[in-house]
């Protein structure tokens, strides 16, 4: 998933909508919501265009669905014997004997 960019207006519009919920929230829920926004704010950076940027969620952090993973498992196997391998030493210096 790519990074998520946003403008100040988009955030203000979202805050306006969320504030409409405030009357339905308990004191504890209100505090929890503020804590989530505060935590999210720490993740935000600003790009060259002046937009806010949320980093993309890390792979493996749990975003994949069971179906995605099952599909990956089905396609994971490729037959074929391991080719012989080894490390070729790099020749340093003059080996010509001249």
């Amino acid at each position: 998933m790519a990074n998520l960019t946003f403008t100040l207006k988009e955030i203000e519009d979202l805050a306006h909508k969320v504030s409409a919920l405030d009357q339905f929230l308990s004191k504890k829920e209100h505090e929890l919501l503020l804590a989530i926004f505060a935590s999210a704010a720490e993740q935000v950076t600003r790009n060259k265009a002046g937009r806010g940027v949320f980093p993309a969620p890390q792979q493996g952090a749990g975003s994949a669905t069971l179906e995605d993973l099952q599909q990956q498992l089905l396609k994971a196997y490729i037959p074929g014997n391991e080719p012989p391998h080894g490390i070729n030493a790099k020749i340093i210096g003059d080996v010509s004997g001249s």
Partner: protein, 622 residues
């Protein structure tokens, strides 16, 4: 007090008779020599097993030593041990038990001829030479240590010695004389003067002193002897021997004799695994005696040698005998050694190679430490790949722990000796069909050395709790009757028993186990052993699978799948634990489902709620 010279003319000889293997000295006589010498007795040790091995061919001899089945070794010396009373002069055993004899010859007839020649020609000739080639006349006492198939050869020599040198006192001891076995042998076999019952470390020197001083043997604990036609047994010592008081065994005469005979080459570095004893008893058995284990409960209390003394003994034995290999005779390694002895061996940068018996619940980190410390060979007592069967055995480990041990031992290049056992009351056919199904998934791990129905041994819970285990038949193993005279009560002398056990499956239920084990062993005899290994980067893993020869292939997993697999690599874990560890949003049930998919591909081992990745890191030494 042991003033110098007080016992200097009181010579003792300690003998190791066939059948014990030739490639290492006997720790029993080596240790008793040191203990008796410390009290001032001149003691010699004689590994007379070597002369016999040379006479009948060392390879044949070793086959007889290693053979599990009818007691052919005991039978070979029976006629010389009990001339008129020997029960099988006509060699009926060789026909009656033909299908269970060691494979010394091609056809049955060839085998029969070889064994008869050994019994009727080699054994008498060997005893004749043995009687003439050693200064027995100087000895006041001749001691025999007897374990497994050493009884009749020892009796045969003792009988000749008593006839030629009536002044010699013959003393017997060792595992074959434990508990009621010793008194019964004393009762019925004339050439035994005294038997040491139980641990001989304290008793043997005290016995020598009493004999030399002419004092009463009644004050020496743990003896059996005939007095006025009755067997008299003195009570065992109330305090078990502490190992810190035991000095290093003396193996000098073993090496001298083996090199004189050419059984060992005379070389600078000796490639011999020296027996070393760092612990006695079993700390697990003291809590839960494994149902098949024939260790006497009296010998069960666990005692170990202090790590600094072990370090000192290893060093002194290396310098004295010029070998760096050791074989601990302990029933189980002291877990305290994982924090006290092994780190010291790593720190000292010693180059020892050590064998230990261990419990199979060792972690990756512990196995790594063992490898670094020079533990190159272990016997973990795996016994089964079914958690249900292991529970019936009272092993105290799950199958998944056994598999984990095999994995990390393989990774750290620790050789593992292990067996598969079956025939336990309460087992089900499913326990074995599951094992048969999973074995091909484990082909990249070292195979079992053998797979068999459990042997019934004296002292094991299957024997001592025979009512509980519903033994419907319990008789001394069949070959004993071809070895001992009628006067010997085999019920009291036998260590192995034939039996029928309610609740155990018939032989036919294990055909699949036998075949799967044979296939596993066969795969390891191939020029390229089976492999299942992985390379990993963050959130990315490739698993190369060539457990079936020539059928290689690679699995590639990314992201969550890679993370899941790696999270199950170090140790057995659960879906819930992995979910927490990785901070996954997937429900636990979904993770379990994915583990099931890995299992179907043979990439994971699932044992109840526990799961373990089966592939090993391709990159070594981490």
């Amino acid at each position: 007090m042991t003033p110098a010279g007080k016992y200097s003319s009181w010579h003792a000889v300690l003998v190791a008779m066939p059948f014990i293997e030739t490639r290492r000295p006997s720790i029993q006589i080596g240790l008793l020599k040191t203990l008796a010498a410390a009290r001032g007795f001149p003691v010699r040790t004689l590994h007379a097993n070597l002369d016999f091995a040379l006479r009948i061919d060392v390879d044949n001899y070793e086959l007889l030593c290693q053979h599990r089945g009818p007691m052919v070794g005991e039978w070979l010396f029976s006629v010389e041990a009990f001339p008129e009373a020997a029960p099988d002069p006509d060699a009926r055993m060789l026909d009656d038990l033909a299908d269970r004899l060691p494979r010394l010859g091609g056809s049955h007839q060839e085998l029969r001829e070889i064994l008869l020649r050994i019994r009727d020609v080699d054994v008498p000739a060997y005893l004749d030479v043995l009687l003439e080639s050693f200064p027995w006349q100087e000895a006041s006492v001749v001691g025999f240590s007897s374990t497994f198939q050493q009884n009749t050869a020892s009796f045969a020599l003792a009988r000749r010695l008593k006839r030629r040198y009536p002044h010699i006192v013959t003393v017997f001891g060792g595992a074959n004389f434990d508990d009621e076995m010793g008194p019964e042998l004393v009762r019925t076999i004339d050439c035994i003067d005294v038997a040491v019952i139980g641990e001989g470390d304290e008793t043997f020197p005290r016995l020598l002193a009493a004999l030399a001083d002419g004092t009463s043997l009644d004050a020496v604990p743990g003896l059996a002897r005939r007095v006025d036609g009755q067997v008299k047994v003195t009570p065992s010592a109330s305090v078990a021997v502490q190992l810190d008081g035991l000095p290093p065994p003396d193996y000098a005469e073993y090496f001298q004799h083996a090199e004189d005979l050419g059984i060992l080459p005379r070389v600078g570095y000796r490639n011999v695994a020296l027996p070393i004893e760092t612990a006695r008893g079993c700390w697990w058995g003291a809590k839960h005696h494994c149902t098949f284990c024939g260790l006497n409960r009296k010998a069960m209390p666990f005692r170990s040698k202090s790590p600094h003394l072990v370090l000192s003994e290893l060093e002194s034995q290396v310098k004295r005998y010029r070998t760096f290999r050791f074989e601990a005779v302990d029933n189980i390694m002291d877990t305290a050694y994982l924090t006290k002895l092994l780190p010291a061996l790593v720190e000292n940068e010693t180059g020892y190679e050590i064998f230990y018996e261990v419990k199979a619940n060792l972690s990756r980190a512990q196995l790594k430490l063992m490898a670094q410390a020079g533990v190159t060979h272990i016997q973990p007592g795996i016994e089964s790949l079914s958690s249900n069967v292991l529970r019936l055995m009272r092993k105290g480990v799950r199958a998944i722990q056994n598999v984990n041990l095999l994995r990390w031992a393989q990774y750290y290049d620790i050789h593992v000796d292990w067996n598969l056992l079956w025939g336990f009351p309460g087992e089900t056919e499913r326990d074995y069909s599951d094992q048969v199904a999973v074995m091909p998934h484990l082909f990249h791990l070292p195979p079992p050395s053998s797979a068999n129905r459990v042997w019934l041994e004296r002292f094991s819970p299957l024997f001592t709790e025979s009512d509980k285990f519903q033994l419907t038949r319990l008789v001394p193993e069949r070959s004993y009757r071809y070895v001992y005279p009628d006067a010997v009560d085999l019920e009291r002398v036998a260590y192995f028993f034939d039996y029928d056990l309610d609740g155990a499956l018939p032989d036919s239920a294990f055909a699949g186990m036998r075949q799967a084990t044979a296939d596993w062993c066969s795969a390891w005899r191939a020029s390229k052993p089976p492999v299942l290994k992985y390379w990993s980067a963050p959130h990315f893993i490739q698993v190369y699978d060539e457990r079936q020869p020539g059928q290689g292939g690679t699995y590639t997993f990314e992201g969550t799948l890679a993370d899941l697999y790696l999270a199950c690599s170090n140790r057995p874990t659960t879906a819930a634990a992995v979910r927490r560890e990785l901070g996954l949003l997937l429900p636990t049930e979904a993770i379990q489902e994915l583990f099931g998919a890995f299992q179907e591909r043979g990439l994971m081992f699932v044992d109840g709620q526990f799961v373990l990745a089966l592939a090993l890191p391709a990159v070594k030494a981490r």
